[in-house]
Subunit: 309 residues, 2 copies
Amino acid sequence: MKCLKCGRPAVFHMRHHKLALCEIHYPEWFVKQTERAIQKYRMFDPGARVLIAVSGGKDSLALWDVLMGLGYAVHGLYIDLGIDWRHKGGIDYSSVSREKVVQFAATRPEARFTVVDVAAEYGESMPQAAQRIRRGRDKPCSICGLIKRHVMNRVARDGDYDVLVTGHNLDDEAAALFGNVLHWKTGYLARQAPVLPAQGEGLVRKAKPFCRLYERETAAYTLIAGIDYVYAECPYAIGATSLRYKETLSQMEHQAPGTKLQFYLGFLRARKEAFFRERAEGVTLTPCHNCGQPSSAPDLCAFCRLWER
Amino acid sequence: MKCLKCGRPAVFHMRHHKLALCEIHYPEWFVKQTERAIQKYRMFDPGARVLIAVSGGKDSLALWDVLMGLGYAVHGLYIDLGIDWRHKGGIDYSSVSREKVVQFAATRPEARFTVVDVAAEYGESMPQAAQRIRRGRDKPCSICGLIKRHVMNRVARDGDYDVLVTGHNLDDEAAALFGNVLHWKTGYLARQAPVLPAQGEGLVRKAKPFCRLYERETAAYTLIAGIDYVYAECPYAIGATSLRYKETLSQMEHQAPGTKLQFYLGFLRARKEAFFRERAEGVTLTPCHNCGQPSSAPDLCAFCRLWER
């Protein structure tokens, strides 16, 4: 197969776009797609101060790379959750991930980032807090999400950033949408979007520039761009429902290329046409009495309740 | 496993309901579920004149059986579409199906039904009409649906029936919903419901009393009730997208029993809470100049355009 732009051997073929590109034109296309999404969904302006949440995985490192290449003022945030599976014969996941972020930044003079060590700042790692709260009944994923959302918003507010970006790709967004639709989580459906505007002073603006790019497209970019990242899934994610949904969607994508993209874009269209009522509007947020971040609870936010003994 | 009601050996186990029943209590439960759906969704009153579309398959024959058993005034309608695959080494599908309907009615003195032979009444069988219109480009399923909807509504109107019922089961409804959601067919989503009220004089009321019952539940009922039916799928349905969706949903059901039921009931809840805007309301229907049935087209309805040369 040949590159559609220059006729040289193609390195990557996208069946859903009927498009094959070479190692020069694929990264070009990928960067342009990212920029288009930023503009189309009015995610942020060229002069914006951007905070990017980086996990050490392929998506966030690729996004960081692309945003710096496009000339955005972007600062990294790595949240060390203290996930360590050496006692179960696994890897020290958080340390390995952190090292990938450090290595990535070391090869790019303009890359700057902040590390928030959850155990050091709050007295317990994420797994310790989850163990205390849930007593091992469930996966810690919901508590992990709560901690990450809180810390990301705190750092973005404290640093006066205009927008917080994450590396969520199309596969992530389609799987989340799939779960929300299967259970008709109407509140989540109303709020799932490529960009979430700031809410008052409290909640910073959020954007997902990779929301229309397939996971294999970000993987191909990191390969060609020579970005090293943590390959392993988070050990707690093994068997997670979201991974099952990803598998199901990938099967359907295989049978009908473009399924994920159509599913997600069709949803955005239905959303834009106000097919859904904006249920999210009805929620009143007040500042948490402890940390000051907005919360739907009357006194302490869920994050601060987490650390209460 | 034992019957939850009487302790005798169970013949059927429903994982999603954590319920196992014997050959006496399963049919009882099945009939009660059907009656509950009729009442819950206010499908029709005890004294209603009911027209049931019967295909010769398990669902419509089971529904006919249950409705007669419950004492409803129900009349059958078999539409002979002229589907015959003997030239391809298959079966004379429409004749075999018709024979199942005839046999079923022969063993029930109160069963009465009407046959509409499409080729005899309109000059061409469904496959012939589809071949002429689509020239073999596509499956004839959409034209088949158009013909069935027209004939069902015509017979229901001419016979002054209060409601038209079909044997659509949960698997059918969940698969249709799945397809509508994957492509965000918002118009179809707004109109997918267990009961569709009549629209003016033109469109008769429609109801699906089996919409909360799994396909394997109707299959188990026919087995225990000794109802013989056509086992084969319609030869044109092989490879249809709706069958792919059914497979995907069945895989998910296997991994998480109750998936289909939750998906469908969650949708009905979201629908009831007016989560969706009622887009269907915006469509204006006027009588077709030829047949008088309501149509969104200004002069001839799609059915009458089908037979225009």
